[in-house]
């Protein structure tokens, strides 16, 4: 009888505890569900429709047609958009990721030596990260111009010809990559720095006593011990590079001849505006999303396996 009462009390307390926890959770879960889970499912649905924002009665179920159009129907303009956008996106990823990982890694190695003023240098090198893409582009566009832009002024001074950076390949890509490195490498540098700081320096000493060279120490000790940071940096950098938009949109406007028009630049005007085609835009977004998820999974598999080996 007494034991029963205790049990009952405990159960009531449990229910109370659960209720109180759920009420703390409720606002966040509600917003997450409404503005994240719901749009995701909604998006999958839209991609199977010829969708019309303003005349819902004209919206029509079309099955896999949107996917077929962008993937296989070479007569469709959307096929051209998708494959050109995807090609340019992949070009950007392949060119930018090694630099966005390599340069911050090297800089963080120098910072880890803690030379005079290293904190100040880190502050300067990280600073562009806090600026918005529009102010970054405003500043940089001017550096690339002819009459008075800094880079061309410097080139002329050194006796070279001016380069139409934003108007000609491969300079257009080069300009986009330079700006991307300047703007986004800060977090990677700091994450690597945190990993390096955690490495026990006596490991280096021991290896040196054993006669190991600096390169050997770097590849056999530093890199394996940086694996957790490498995983985070690789995955976030690759994902960010796949969804690149602001830099080519504002710097080259996709030119010259659509050679820097990345996939997001095709998806954006089709998502909303006079040339809107939400169904096709979403099917492109789903394909891009699938690609991003696949690449992330493959990366974590590779890095984890190396970590174990």
């Amino acid at each position: 009888m007494n034991a029963d009462l205790v049990k009952k009390k405990k159960r009531i307390r449990n229910i109370k505890e659960n209720l109180s926890a759920y009420s703390f959770l409720f606002p966040y879960l509600l917003i997450f569900t409404v503005f994240f889970i719901f749009p995701f499912i909604y998006g999958l649905i839209i991609s199977f429709f010829d969708w019309n924002f303003f005349f819902p009665e004209r919206t029509e179920f079309v099955g896999f047609e949107n996917y077929f159009k962008i993937l296989f129907n070479s007569d469709s303009i959307y096929y051209t958009y998708f494959w050109n956008g995807l090609k340019n996106t992949v070009i950007f990823v392949v060119m930018s990721v090694p630099l966005l990982v390599g340069i911050p890694l090297v800089l963080s190695l120098f910072i880890d030596q803690q030379p005079y003023g290293y904190k100040f240098f880190r502050t300067i090198l990280f600073m562009p990260t806090v600026l918005s893409i529009s102010s970054v582009i405003l500043i940089w566009k001017w550096q690339f111009y002819n009459n008075g832009g800094f880079i061309n002024a410097l080139l002329v001074k050194m006796g070279f010809e001016e380069i139409p950076f934003l108007l000609q390949q491969p300079w257009a890509w080069l300009s986009i990559i330079v700006v991307t490195i300047w703007w986004t490498m800060g977090p990677n540098m700091v994450i690597f720095g945190a990993g390096l700081k955690n490495i026990d320096k006596t490991l280096y000493e021991a290896a040196r006593i054993d006669g190991a060279g600096e390169l050997h120490i770097f590849t056999k000790i530093t890199i394996p011990l940086l694996a957790p940071q490498m995983l985070i940096v690789m995955i976030t950098t690759v994902l960010a590079s796949f969804s690149v938009y602001g830099q080519p949109d504002l710097l080259t406007n996709g030119g010259p001849n659509q050679s820097t028009s990345v996939l997001m630049m095709y998806i954006r005007p089709m998502a909303y505006g006079t040339n809107a085609n939400p169904g096709v835009a979403t099917s492109m977004a789903v394909m891009l999303g699938l690609l991003m998820i696949t690449v992330s999974i493959v990366q974590s598999k590779i890095i984890n396996r190396r970590d174990k080996a």
């Binding site: 759920y22 966040y28 503005f35 800089l107 529009s134 405003l138 940089w140 566009k141 550096q143 789903v286």
Partner: protein, 279 residues
């Protein structure tokens, strides 16, 4: 012998970092220089860093134009990002408290499900969110920039990790003293987690302040005076492409307050980023 070697490495590091930092500052220094040059001097050859006749005409021009209300855009961005951050701190820290401190059925399962779902690339949500904004009548309004991002996982995760580190004895003894969950949250958890709240606030604010793609869509067709700074600046970049003095004045005006805040908060910002790299 060993000591000498280490100082040599440090000297090399110093030179490399100094060079990199100088290169990193060039665009901004050049931008500042251009913004103070009279129009006739900007494209003059050979170009100079220090203007012969420095002028503030571009800034005066910028602030007087009705189609480039930079200060207004800044104020808008500030209000929107602040409101977003305040709401986010409440919503996210409540959830983080539930996940990190309280015990309830299905806690860990819901948490990991949440993190897993957050890995889905947001590009898929773009069109549906636009549709939702139109249906809710939020399209083009500030609410559209404040509310949907409140479900962000990053800050919630950061706070939860911090709350996990709070000694359980503190919480238990508060419970024995008869404090409710709400009381424990406000009287014990929040005061102990000020730094985590600050870092979360900084990231939430920066993310919202710098957002470009979403506000650009939301404000297509809206009144210039309601825009945020990134949307306005991108407009300047497009329209006044060849008025270098004006565009540089706009860019520097936009950058200065951000850099000042960064100078004061850099330790927290850099530490917050570093923390994401260590489990």
């Amino acid at each position: 012998m060993k000591k000498q070697k280490s100082t040599r490495l440090q000297k090399i590091s110093f030179v490399v970092l100094l060079t990199a930092s100088v290169i990193w500052l060039v665009p901004i220094v050049w931008g500042i220089s251009t913004s103070f040059k009279p129009a006739t001097e900007i494209s003059l050859f050979p170009t100079r860093l220090i203007p012969d006749r420095p002028t503030i005409e571009h800034y005066v021009n910028l602030f007087n134009r009705s189609d480039t209300p930079v200060l207004r855009w800044m104020l808008n961005s500030f209000i929107i990002a602040s409101l977003h951050t305040i709401f986010y701190l409440f919503v996210a820290s409540f959830a983080a408290y539930a996940f990190g401190v309280l015990r309830f059925k299905g806690r860990d399962r819901i948490f990991w499900l949440l993190l897993g779902t957050a890995m889905i690339p947001t590009v898929i949500n773009l069109v549906p969110l636009i549709t939702m904004m139109i249906d809710l009548n939020w399209f083009g309004s500030w609410i559209a920039l404040i509310v949907p991002g409140l479900g962000g996982v990053f800050g919630m995760f950061l706070l939860r990790q911090f709350f996990l580190g709070i000694p359980i004895e503190l919480i238990e003894s508060a419970k024995v003293d008869g404090l409710s969950n709400v009381g424990i949250f406000f009287k014990i958890v929040v005061p102990l987690s000020k730094s985590a709240f600050l870092v979360t606030a900084l990231f939430s604010f920066m993310g919202n302040w710098n957002d470009y793609l979403w506000p650009q869509i939301m404000f297509s067709g809206a009144d210039v005076n309601t825009w945020t700074l990134p949307v306005g600046l991108s407009k300047i970049a497009g329209t006044y492409n060849y008025d270098y003095g004006l565009t540089m004045a706009a860019a520097i005006t936009a950058i200065v307050p951000v850099v000042i805040v960064y100078a004061f908060m850099q330790d927290h910002i850099i530490e917050g980023v570093a923390r994401t790299g260590i489990k």
